[in-house]
Amino acid sequence: MATVSLEKLVKRYGSLEVVHGIDLEVADREFIALVGPSGCGKSTTLRMIAGLEPVSGGNLKIGGRVVNDLPPRARNLAMVFQSYALYPHMTVRENMGFSLKIAGQKPEDIAPQVEEAARTLDLTHLLDRRPSQLSGGQRQRVAMGRAIVRQPDVFLFDEPLSNLDAKLRTQMRVEIKKLHAKVQSTVIYVTHDQVEAMTLADRIVIMRDGYIEQVGTPEDVFQRPKSKFVAGFIGSPPMNLKDAEIADGQVVFANGDRLPLPARFRDRVTAGQKVTFGLRPDDLYPAGHGIHSGEDADVHRQDLRVILTEPLGNETLVFSDYAGAEWVGRMLNPRRLSPGEALPFCFDLSQAHLFDRESGRTLRG
């Protein structure tokens, strides 16, 4: 069990800097998810923590000890790789017991630990198979078993579910959550899938181009995104983000369409300010097919023409035309809609966001 601290951590490849001095404190037993688009530096950061990439600058501490120059074996971590990285010439049993064997434990001490982990992960009947005889999900479980057996201070996961099909991914996500509840260890989990991050993590770290955009609980990053980037990255389908200007106490879009200025931003904007207006699909719904969260006064009603629908069964995503752009709304208790149909929509403005167009930062306090 240990804390992990990143202090001004930098990674350079030659003259190319890919991680620009990031700071992060991971508490003991915390589950942290690093998310971001490809190339944002999340995997590089994880590999620096693991010791697989040398640290180019700043400090990396595990359990309060600076480990910058320690090899991976001296850091007491376990890592689960995207490709599982099992040893193909060893059986499941040998794979799981390998780190203990390397640590010099006796075979009779290793066996019960391996069996215990195998029971936890429901692998007992597979112990004598080789990785090539296992399915993707089973291999994934073996990779996790190999990590558990070590009883490491910190678990590192590098996109562990990316190679699984959607159904198995959901299943394994639950397994990982249960596992964390059971082993109570510090976890750093890298993923590009924001659903995984939201469902698993205590706190989410959103990275972009080698910088940390925001750190916060899943509720934080979803409800109070600090920037346009976070707002667009977290949530599915993504938030509607449209450029606008403030005029006459209203939000005015490029084509002249207007929405009332949401109450909580009234003191924070000035006339003529260039902004980006953000509204989640959940807060844009056909009248009577959604739930508004605030006062009635905050709901703006407007007739919109439907362009396209995506029925998902329990809900329908409705693409409609407004302010010269396409907006996505979410329709609960859906009924069949046909393209071209016009119907009244509700804009729940108490949930709207405004970002400074230049800096992309949020305009709320």
Binding site: A50, G51, L52, P71, P72, R73, L77, A78, M79, F81, S83, Y84, A85, L86, Y87, P88, H89, F98, S99, I102, A103, R130, P131, S132, R146, R150, L156
Partner: protein, 298 residues
């Protein structure tokens, strides 16, 4: 009544069978047959006198034959092991190179581009006791003031031949093992490092099992090569002096052509081939075991 027509498959295979018979099967049978005769090139009629197993009995009780046999096996064992180790080292170094790897790979293969005869001549010159580079270097460095008789002393000459063999063929191992290293996935190595392995343990438990099949392929190829070693030895020492470096095939060619005892030489050749087959079978077994172990898909 129609005449008998041979079935189509038979007809279609016939040309291939005829060619094979002419160039492989008949010479093989003929040579096997002649190993049971006292056939001498100078006395053609002797081809028709059968003497049963007398040639085989004779070579199997001949100390000279067994010495050559033993020396060949020794050369095979030592050369293969040395080449294996050097090749592994070379391959791992080249694999680490971040720049110029293709150039290094090409340079590494240079020795394979020379005819063994030329390699023989080159090393014969280098190990010459009077004008050779090796003695010159040793003397200039003050390591010795004597002219070491590299190609005259029996064990020194064996060593010189070994050096020439190793120089010319280490790259076979290096190239094949390098292929293995390049084909190997990197994640298991990283997993091993995180799992607590030292660099040596990573090599021992993860890298080595992966490249073992490649090493065995190289072993198989090279064991056949060394078992029929002839050209380099022929040039450097010609089995001499006084048969101190006689290998199986120098002995066989001497018996066949210098002594013109073709029947006896053929008998020796069959025993020599048996040796090659044994080594090949051995390494193929090892190869398939190693392949199963890493679950190779080839």
């Amino acid at each position: 009544m129609k005449g008998w027509r041979p079935p189509a498959p038979f007809l279609l295979l016939l040309p291939a069978v005829l060619v094979l018979a002419a160039v492989v099967i008949i010479p093989l049978i003929l040579s096997l047959y002649s190993s049971f005769t006292p056939f001498r090139l100078t006395q053609p009629a002797s081809l028709f006198t059968l003497i049963g197993f007398r040639n085989y009995v004779r070579i199997l009780t001949d100390i000279e034959f067994w010495t050559a046999f033993g020396r060949t096996v020794l050369l095979l064992t030592v050369a293969l092991n040395v080449e294996m180790l050097l090749g592994l080292g070379l391959a791992m170094l080249v694999e680490k190179a971040t720049r110029g790897q293709r150039l290094l790979r090409t340079i590494m293969m240079f020795p394979m581009m020379f005819s063994p005869i030329l390699v023989g001549f080159q090393f014969k010159f280098m190990f010459n006791d009077n004008i050779g580079l090796v003695n010159n270097a040793l003397q200039s460095l003050g390591l010795t003031d004597q002219a070491i008789p590299w190609l005259i002393d029996g064990s020194l000459a064996f060593f010189a031949i070994l050096v020439a063999e190793v120089w010319s063929s280490t790259s076979v191992f290096a190239i094949l093992i390098l292929a293995g290293l390049l084909a190997m996935p990197k994640e298991p190595i990283e997993a091993a490092r995180v799992d607590g392995c030292t660099p040596w343990q990573t090599f021992r438990y993860v890298t080595w099992p992966f490249i073992m099949p490649f090493a065995y392929i190289a072993m198989t190829i090279r064991s056949l090569d060394v078992a029929r070693a002839y050209d380099i030895v022929k040039i450097m020492t010609d089995g001499g002096p006084a048969k101190r470096t006689e290998l199986l095939w120098t002995l066989i060619s001497r018996t066949a052509y210098a002594d013109a005892r073709m029947g006896l030489a053929n008998a020796m050749a069959y025993v020599a081939i048996l040796l090659s087959i044994l080594f090949t079978v051995y390494f193929f077994r090892k190869l398939s075991a190693a392949r199963t172990q890493i679950a190779a898909e080839w």
